[in-house]
């Protein structure tokens, strides 16, 4: 018979926690799917525009930049492909990363009611968040392919890697998001700072324009690890140069331990959050 012991967390080992986390992720597949299904169903049942809301942000950003570029307001370096497709793919990849980053916080926050009442595998919240994101991403990518056909962008074999690239992107976002979540659950400021920071960060990442050949922007972009992540993910889409493969793999490899750490950290901190938010 299963025996549980609750005491102050003074003798917990990292590997025990990790093992617990892994078992709970496995055990919570149904719960995670059910929660994702619930949220998606509820969202679309109460809305006529439905999935369109998932595109609105990347599309509006794309339109603004297409206008800025075509009207000559800003001079951008050559992107190598049709600019509208470049911008849309950029904003889309960026929006997926951003969603992944804030997802652990939003998922946990919206489950506050049950967190303080029922003991269920908390990892299900993260998993269901990933499910929901993948669902939205499916539609976004569909739209992107349509645009690529319209603008006659050639399909290359590296496109087959694109789903994998997106998955890696999601996991990088979630890994960082998990580390932040316990703090952003306690203080609303954290979420606001992240939001603000991200909107600045977008402009030092090749999202709506390519990296210039020289100047301050080039230095900033080269310092920004996201440049490589976004860049390589986009290269998969268009069969680009794959110029920064080494830093990309370095970042991905670094994010693996962060993800593991994040999961353990999340598991460890949930009781503290429940205690502080619903005592």
């Amino acid at each position: 018979m299963e025996t549980r012991i609750y005491k102050k967390e003074n003798s917990l080992s990292f590997f025990k926690l990790l093992k617990g986390s892994a078992t709970d992720i496995y055990k919570s597949r149904f719960l995670a799917r059910q929660l994702a299904e619930r949220d998606i169903k509820a969202q679309y049942r109460q809305s006529y525009l439905g999935i369109i809301w998932a595109f609105i942000m990347p599309i509006t950003t794309a339109i603004v930049w297409i206008f800025l570029s075509s009207s000559g307001t800003v001079q951008l370096s050559d992107t190598g492909i049709s600019y509208p497709v470049y911008v849309f793919s950029g904003t889309l990849i960026w929006s997926i990363f951003k969603d992944a980053l804030v997802m652990p916080t939003t998922s946990t926050s919206s489950a506050r009611g049950i967190l303080s009442k029922i003991n269920f595998p908390k990892e299900a919240l993260i998993l269901s968040g990933i499910y929901k994101m993948l669902f939205n991403t499916l539609f976004k990518v569909g739209l992107l392919f349509i645009l690529m056909i319209i603008y006659k962008v050639g399909f290359s074999f590296s496109l087959l890697l694109f789903p994998l690239g997106l998955l890696v992107l999601v996991f990088i976002g979630v890994a960082i998001g998990l580390i932040i979540t316990p703090f952003s659950m306690l203080y609303k400021d954290i979420g606001k700072i992240i939001n603000l920071g991200l909107s600045f960060f977008m402009y030092v990442t090749p999202v709506v324009y390519a990296m210039p050949d020289k100047g301050l922007m080039k230095t900033l972009m080269e310092l920004n690890p996201l440049t490589y992540v976004i860049g390589i993910t986009r290269d998969m889409l268009f069969g680009g140069s794959f110029a920064y493969l080494t830093p990309y793999f370095a970042i991905v490899l670094m994010c693996l331990p962060i993800l593991v750490l994040g999961l353990v950290w999340y598991r460890l901190s949930i009781p503290v959050i429940v205690e502080r938010l619903s005592a």
């Binding site: 299963e2 012991i5 102050k8 003074n10 619930r38 009442k117």
Partner: protein, 395 residues
Amino acid sequence: MENDEVLVKVEGLSKKFCKDLKTSLWYGVKDLISGVKGNKNERTLRPKEFWAVKDVNFELRRGECLGLIGHNGAGKSTLLKILNGLINPDAGQVTIRGRVGALIELGAGFNPILSGRENIYNNGAVLGFTRNEIDNKLEDIIDFAEIREFIDMPVQNYSSGMKVRLGFAIAAQMEPDVLIIDEVLAVGDLAFRMKCYNHLMNVISKNVAIILVSHSVVDIMRLCNSVMVMESGKPIYLGSNEKGVSLYNNLAKKENLYNPNFNVFIRENEIENDFNTEDDITFDIKIFSNFKIESAKLIFHLEFSSIRLASISSNYNQFELNLEQGENNFEFTLEKTPLLVGGYMGKFDLYGKTLKDYYGTSNTTTFNIIGPKVNYEGLGRSQIIALNHNWKKKN
């Protein structure tokens, strides 16, 4: 499977909370960081903290039901949260064997826009059922909740009673070894409460260990083998239902202050004040008066859980009551007290010739009726008053 194995063991359990939100959040950050380092130090109170639960110990075996009673803020729900593994204790340890089920929040995970049927899956998943299990139990759940007609209607259009019924119906499908219940018996209409009650009796008969929080003395008496009374986080009593419930009844009036000039206490076992139904209970009344009062009246009030059960004036027996200057002593006896198990309170008002001449009220004395055991299953006398009665067959 052994029948008397200990399923729940609680040792020296304590939990502290913070009174101030900002400080609490900051302590949260500190706890997050010290949690990683593995805080081995004994935890003491930091500024603005208090013990929400302090030094709780008990053991619960298979087939036993422990009632937790105490006023709001006594720490009952916090204790349940620790037992349920939602928050970690600050000291002590809980050991729970077997599957744990909690009837704390009914209908957790419901989405108001979705139909009852869809929400059965949502709530079921949160409670830890697999899809197959829910598929199999779906019909039982709908029948138990008695909402077959409305099962495909959005839950937001359900009446509150229907929502609760559906939530309970799903939760009732759990087959735990340890069941934690917080006040859910108090919701819904009478018919539904009877249904819950019957279900719980059924659960108990399956050798489940139950921890029940309730404000209903009747529920406690019916379901529990023993009770724990909590006050400001501390367990002040652990033992028989009768004594525990009495203590709980009397907690309410504890703030009533000692009045040096008008002092009443119960004779004999003065500390415990425990009696049986139909015992004589004698009160010693000591009044210190600054002046003479001719033909005064003492009025005795008997109360139960803040309900006044009876008042008796000394006038009724034409008892001649004259107070001298200085100390006066009287005695008052309730003969063959017709009260059943529970905690009761008595106090006296002092009046002069008429009710307009009010002089004062005594301290409140409490006494407990702790026996004989009351049978709440329709096989004996129950509730408050011991009615003497006769049955006779007529032709």
